[in-house]
Structures are given as structure tokens and as C-alpha cells.
């Protein structure tokens, strides 16, 4: 009986700790607005402010990280920020979402970040109705960034940032993406950045969810059809590198302070795309 009591107390403690960082009610219904409502909010900001256009050399680097899940410490994320700030050939950084775990930590992440960095929302950024907090600091989670040559002025690359915090783009964002890809032409690289990953890995990805199959079919075909070269995702905290229908899908490890396998990626952007995985111990 004593043994049973101990197990019960342990189980309750695990549940309580879990409730601190995970919005358990979200299993039934999301505590943040729907993907369509969030898309509207993102477009409000986009319509009032122009999409960023960055002047860059013909070859440059982009630093990408994901899933920092910051609560109180920012050790690994600070090292990531320091790395891209000290690389003169890095023109911007990307955070693929799940900036925080738990409540009220967006302010801390924002205080550590240094421009230029582009951010999107992850599912943990939506827990505890935190979409409003995300928007307060980063304003939008659906947008694109163009790079143009600083010498010739010709357009180079297109980076598309998508909100997949619910494991779906929602209807409106999907239409926006389709229209954007249909009218884009002349970019040497199209790169998509989003939080939720597309494929289950070789081992069972017990801690993460993907898109519904219908959406997986449609998105992977759309990326193929419109010449997307690279899709950067996070979410499952396990490294994955898949080439599917001619498109490269990279899934990044997390950058959590208390995790073992942590890394970020440096993408070298030029006429070819190359990347290097940088482990952080």
C-alpha cells in the first residue's frame, strides 16, 4: 500500500510539473485564437508595414535555431545570439518557434534576442492563451522576407515564414501561401520556415505531432510544384534530414538548456544551399 501511495504522489507531482509548462486543457481546445484568426492578426501588421527586403551580398549566412523552451535560463540561446552577432557574413537569424515553456517568459526571450532575427510561433508559444503576448513582441507569424543583391539590386532569395502552432496552417494561410507561391518567380532560392515538422522520423517520435495527412500531401506537392528548395522545421527536438519530391526538409534539434542533444544550423545561401549543424553542449 505504501508503495502504491508513493507511486500516486510521484504521478501527481509529474502532472503538476507538467501543468506548469503545458496547457493541458489544449488537448480539448486551443487556448489561443484559431489559425485563421491568427492569420488575420498577422496580416493586419503586414498590411500596415511592408514585408522586409534585405540587401545582402551574393553569398551570405543565416543562423537558424528552434525550440529554446526558455523558462528561467537562456544560456544556450545567448550563445546562439552571440554566434550570429559575431559572424560578419550572417545577415539575419531565424527562430523556428517554441521560444518558451510555461507562462510569461516571452519578455525574457525578447530581452536576449538581438536584431536582425525573424521569429515564428510554436505550439508552446500558444499555450496559456499566449498568442497575445507573442504578438506584443513579434507582431506577426505569417510573412515573407526577400533578399536582394547589395551590388546589382537583383532579387535573390525568398524566405517564407508560416504559423503552424496548431499542427495546421488553417484555411486562410494555406490560400495565402498558394497565391504567394503562384506569383513568385525569379528567386534563386525559396526557403520555407515553420514550426511543425512534416514527417515522422525513423524512430517513433512519441513526443511530437505532425500535420494531418491531407495537409501533408497538399503542402509537399505545393513545395515541389513551385520550386521550394529548403523547408526548415523544429518541434520534435530530433534531428531529421529528408529529401522528398525534390525538396529538402531539415528538422532541427532543440536549444533547450536542460536537453542533451542540442544544436543550431548555419545555412550558407548562394547559388547553392549548404548547411552546417553546430552542436551546443
Amino acid at each position: 500500500m505504501k508503495k502504491f501511495d508513493k507511486i500516486l504522489v510521484l504521478a501527481l507531482m509529474v502532472l503538476l510539473v507538467s501543468c506548469e509548462t503545458n496547457d493541458i486543457s489544449g488537448v480539448l481546445v486551443s487556448s489561443s485564437p484559431t489559425p485563421d484568426a491568427r492569420f488575420d492578426k498577422s496580416m493586419e501588421w503586414n498590411n500596415a508595414h511592408e514585408y522586409p527586403v534585405l540587401k545582402v551580398p551574393d553569398s551570405y549566412r543565416v543562423y537558424v535555431c528552434s525550440d529554446t523552451h526558455i523558462q528561467t535560463t537562456t544560456d544556450k540561446f545567448s550563445r546562439f545570439v552571440s554566434a550570429y552577432k559575431h559572424d560578419s557574413n550572417c545577415k539575419f537569424a531565424v527562430h523556428l518557434g517554441d521560444l518558451v515553456s510555461g507562462k510569461e517568459h516571452h519578455k525574457l526571450v525578447y530581452s536576449v534576442m538581438q536584431e536582425p532575427i525573424f521569429t515564428i510561433v510554436g505550439n508552446h508559444d500558444l499555450h496559456f492563451a499566449q498568442w497575445s503576448s507573442f504578438v506584443e513582441y513579434w507582431h506577426t507569424s505569417t510573412y515573407y522576407v526577400e533578399t536582394v543583391s547589395e551590388t546589382s539590386g537583383r532579387k535573390l532569395d525568398l524566405f517564407i515564414f508560416l504559423d503552424s502552432g496548431n499542427g495546421t496552417l488553417g484555411s486562410k494561410q494555406m490560400d495565402w501561401l498558394r497565391e504567394l507561391l503562384m506569383v513568385t518567380s525569379g528567386y534563386r532560392n525559396i526557403i520555407v520556415c515553420t514550426h511543425t515538422d512534416f514527417f515522422q522520423g525513423k524512430a517513433f517520435d512519441g513526443n511530437s505531432a505532425n500535420y494531418p495527412l491531407e495537409e501533408t500531401y497538399t503542402l509537399t506537392n505545393m513545395f515541389r510544384q513551385y520550386g521550394v528548395k529548403l523547408v526548415l522545421t523544429g518541434h520534435k527536438h530530433n534531428w531529421d534530414d529528408v529529401t522528398f519530391a525534390g525538396v529538402r526538409y531539415l528538422t532541427l534539434e532543440s536549444l533547450k538548456d536542460d536537453a542533451d542533444n542540442t544544436s543550431y544550423v548555419v545555412v550558407s545561401v548562394g547559388n547553392e544551399l549548404n548547411f552546417e549543424k553546430i552542436p551546443l553542449k
Binding site: G26, V27, N123, T168, A209, N210, Y211, E214, T243
Partner: protein, 244 residues
């Protein structure tokens, strides 16, 4: 003489229906009433389906079950969709009747072609289940291959979990029943573990040989993200012919 001709005709019709049933494949796992009754059945189900990405579509389902002994069941299911997404699914189900309920194994080769998105989706599932009067549950494994029409690399997912729990409001031998089911698969899709399907189903045996059925299936998204949202809904009605 007339009577003899009638009997022969009936036998021929029955043979043709049996042949069609086996040809169409498909099986309705819960179509047989009771646990051990041998049955051969055929079911046609039109569906209306909606999801936030593909919008509205109509599906036409054909299902047949061939269970000549209490120990084995073979089902085939075909689905044709107005969106040019088509599915074929086979299930081989060895069954072991027990003093209470039955233990079963379920082997399921599955293939779906999404012509509009130019992708093949093939899966093989193996699971074990136990079926009581008021409860049925099933757990197993499946592997999936996603292959694009145009090459450029395919993907295999070899470690996926299959699960299903179904609660019935009446015993299996009743001439009508209502059930509630949560699982990540049905006859026409095998989803990842994180995308469960919630199904409310009903059947009514109008005659010994005829069954009416109806069902509503809800597919949320984001449960695995702990950020659940509505994704899609399917409503179906069906008419089934039980030959034995």
C-alpha cells in the same frame, strides 16, 4: 418446375453477389451480429466530407466482409472521392473466440492515391485486439511509405502506433446498436498517432439480410501539440446486404 427454376436463379444471383463481394473486397469488421456468426456481407456508403484544406467532397465507399468461419474474417474496402483521392484497404483478421468476447489479430495492407497532390500513400498495419459486448480495443504498429509521382525522394515511416477503442451501448447480438470510437484509423485512412478520429456510429438491422448504418466522424488537429482545433468532419449513411 417454376419453383426449381426460381431456386436455381436465386442460387445464381447469390453466387454473383458473392463473387462481387469478394471482388470488391472491403470488409465491415462489425457488420456481423454476434461474435461467431459466419457471414458474408456487402455494404455501400455514400459520404459527405469536409476538411479545412480540401473543403467539400463526396466519397463513395464499397465494403465487403467474408467471414465463413468464426476464426477468420477478410474485408476489403474501396473508396472513390470526387477530389480524385482513392483508397483500397484489405484486412485479414484471424479471430479466437473466448468464453467472454474474442481475441483477434488484424493485418491491414492499405493504399491511397491522391492524384491531385501527386502522391502514393501505402501502409501496412498489424495489431491485436479484444472485443467484448460493450467494448472493443485494439493496439498495434504500422509502417508507411509516401512516394511522390514525380520521384525526387520518397519517405518511409516505420515506427508508428495504431490504436482504437470503441464503446457500444448494446450487446453485439442486438438488432441495433450505437457506438463511439476513438482511433487513428478507419477503413479509409491510417493517420499518425497524434491525429485521432472520433466516430459516432449506428446500425439497424431492418431484416435478417439488410442493415442500415450511419455515422459521423470528427477529425481534430493539434491534439499532439496540446492545441486542438477542428480539422474535418465526415457524415456517412450506408445500406448493407448480409448474405449468410
Amino acid at each position: 418446375m417454376v419453383c426449381y427454376t426460381f431456386v436455381v436463379c436465386m442460387r445464381k444471383i447469390r453466387l454473383i453477389i458473392l463473387f462481387l463481394t469478394i471482388s470488391f473486397g472491403g470488409f465491415a469488421s462489425n457488420l456481423s451480429r454476434g461474435f461467431y456468426e459466419p457471414s458474408v456481407s456487402f455494404e455501400f456508403m455514400p459520404e459527405y466530407s469536409y476538411n479545412i484544406q480540401w473543403k467539400s467532397m463526396a466519397n463513395f465507399d464499397l465494403k465487403s466482409t467474408f467471414a465463413k468461419t468464426p476464426y477468420f474474417e477478410f474485408t476489403t474496402a474501396l473508396q472513390f472521392s470526387t477530389l480524385n483521392v482513392h483508397t483500397v484497404d484489405f484486412r485479414l483478421k484471424p479471430r479466437l473466440p473466448l468464453p467472454i468476447g474474442e481475441l483477434f489479430l488484424d493485418f491491414e495492407p492499405y493504399y491511397r492515391i491522391d492524384v491531385k497532390d501527386r502522391i502514393h500513400d501505402a501502409a501496412i498495419a498489424a495489431s491485436v485486439g479484444y472485443r467484448f459486448d460493450y467494448l472493443s480495443f485494439q493496439v498495434g504498429w504500422f509502417g508507411r511509405f509516401l512516394v511522390p509521382f514525380d520521384g525526387g525522394g520518397y519517405h518511409k515511416e516505420l515506427a508508428n502506433i495504431l490504436y482504437g477503442v470503441e464503446v457500444f451501448c448494446r450487446p453485439q447480438y442486438s438488432n441495433w446498436n450505437i457506438s463511439l470510437r476513438m482511433s487513428n484509423f478507419n477503413d479509409y485512412q491510417i493517420e499518425r498517432w497524434s491525429e485521432p478520429l472520433f466516430m459516432l456510429s449506428a446500425r439497424y438491422d431492418l431484416f435478417d439480410m439488410m442493415r442500415l448504418s450511419a455515422g459521423v466522424e470528427c477529425k481534430p488537429v493539434g491534439i499532439g501539440n496540446v492545441q486542438a482545433q477542428f480539422f474535418g468532419i465526415t457524415a456517412r449513411i450506408g445500406i448493407g446486404l448480409i448474405l449468410e
